[in-house]
Symmetry: C2
Subunit: 258 residues, 2 copies
DNA sequence: CGGGGGTTTGAGTCCGTTCAAAATACGTGG
DNA sequence: CCACGTATTTTGAACGGACTCAAACCCCCG
């Protein structure tokens, strides 16, 4: 269950930079859980946190290890990978910048439930468990915010389960592209949308609950239908409406009752 | 989104019984979230709560309605049914006795995310939102307990997603039977295990992420292989090991990395 | 006794998988 | 900077599990 021993500090040898943004001026302050804290508490948070840069693929924390603290994604995206008791591994989420990581394990008092690794170049803050606990005790609202976040995650996970049962791979992939578009989509000179896939094909497949071969074929099919063109990890979407139409066509859907 | 107007009291016309178990002597006290409360608080909880009986299929609360409070399942089981924005309905969980219901919406400050209906004959407690809030404010540990519960639910939901992608219907069904066995399994005179299915075939299918026809065929296949026999809603499992073996055979499993 | 929903059964189809091999991308050391 | 070995991605062909559709069946209830 616990292949390697726990460590004292965040894993990997990412260099610690003390020059990171202040929590008070953080771009994500409004959305982040910490946003409920007073300026004074934020300053204490500021002083206590450390700041690290990660290269793509670098592990942030490992499933099964005791939770050392909470991470915040300042920039980049982080992949969550879970291995169950049968040894089956799957990507469970691609977490966007601005969100916290590892709070579930820390607040729940359990080891990390998944391995987190940087999907792209990423910069993360790390807040030690002692500081988190302290802030949590001081201001109950912080706990509420984290509760809300988990509740949202749960809703999202249940929706993913429904989609898995209801939608085909093509539709799930289209949905994934739209999510990416909202996060990191750019508009090209000719008006078409550009975005980069932050994941290897394999990991996209795992996230979608499909095999890599199927993803490849789906990509080709979308290209042949003029929905999108793929060049390496860059995707071009000439007509957003065409992609949106993909989601509507729910082929064989269970009759919704009442 | 909100088909009917919210109501003042728990839905349906279940008769309120004041003679229910006291929270202090509740069989689930040790497991339940309220277990962290002091005897004094438990007495206040006792006084404030109401107690209702539900017939199978009766709605406890409805998706989209504002959260009025938290329910506790004293006996019986409750089905959670979720309808997404496309109108696709799916059973998301079968909640066993001893667990709370509706806390996610209430604590998260959002409307109920799903419709809850009694799967079997059930007896539930209802705790008004005002009382929940009061206890929550007074004792932070209660909030922690609920956080833990949602975190566990999330882990379970993610596992279900993985199972959906990895396992066949037959294995998912076998897994479902084993869950039921742990909850409500009895041992017959001849040593075989007996249990009742608390759900209609349709709902089992939905919970498993399959069609009713497929469930029927799976049932037949299990009977032909001597794993279990089905008589209406009663299931007989002559050899538990044979059923357990079903779970091991993960046919085409994604190579687990590292 | 005649609905009516739920369940079962059958036949045919399709989507996604499996397996195997070729092609491409990638990182590393020379 | 190029050559090489490895990992990933792509392609092809064949298979199979679960789905669709449609009809028959059943049981419960009025």
């Amino acid at each position: 269950m616990n292949p390697t021993a726990p460590r004292e500090t965040p894993e990997g040898s990412a260099c610690t930079i003390h020059a990171g943004e202040s929590c008070l001026t953080c771009a994500w302050r409004a959305d982040a859980e910490w946003g409920v804290l007073s300026d004074e508490d934020l300053r204490r948070l500021d002083a206590a946190r450390s700041f690290n840069a990660y290269r793509p693929g670098q592990v942030v924390y490992t499933q099964g290890h005791p939770a050392l603290g909470v991470f915040c994604i300042e920039s980049g995206e982080v992949l969550l990978r879970r291995t169950d008791e049968h040894g089956t591994a799957a990507v469970t989420a691609l977490v966007p910048a601005g969100r916290a990581l590892g709070y579930r394990a820390l607040l729940g008092g359990v080891p990390y439930e998944e391995t987190a690794e940087a999907a792209s170049e990423a910069r993360l803050c790390f807040i030690d468990r002692a500081m988190v606990r302290e802030l949590l005790d001081k201001d109950c609202r912080l706990g509420h915010r984290f509760f809300r976040r988990v509740a949202e995650d749960l809703t999202a996970s249940e929706q993913a389960r429904i989609d898995m049962a209801t939608l085909g791979v093509r539709q799930r992939f289209a949905h994934f592209l739209l999510t990416l578009k909202d996060r990191r989509g750019r508009v090209d000179a000719d008006g078409s949308i550009l975005l980069d896939l932050p994941l290897a094909r394999q990991d996209i497949a795992s996230l979608l609950g499909a095999r890599p071969e199927t993803v490849t074929r789906t990509v080709r099919a979308l290209e042949e239908d003029g929905i999108a063109t793929f060049d390496g990890r860059t995707v071009r979407i000439p007509d957003l409406d065409a992609l949106l139409d993909e989601l509507e066509e729910r082929s064989g859907e269970p009759r919704h009752q009442r």
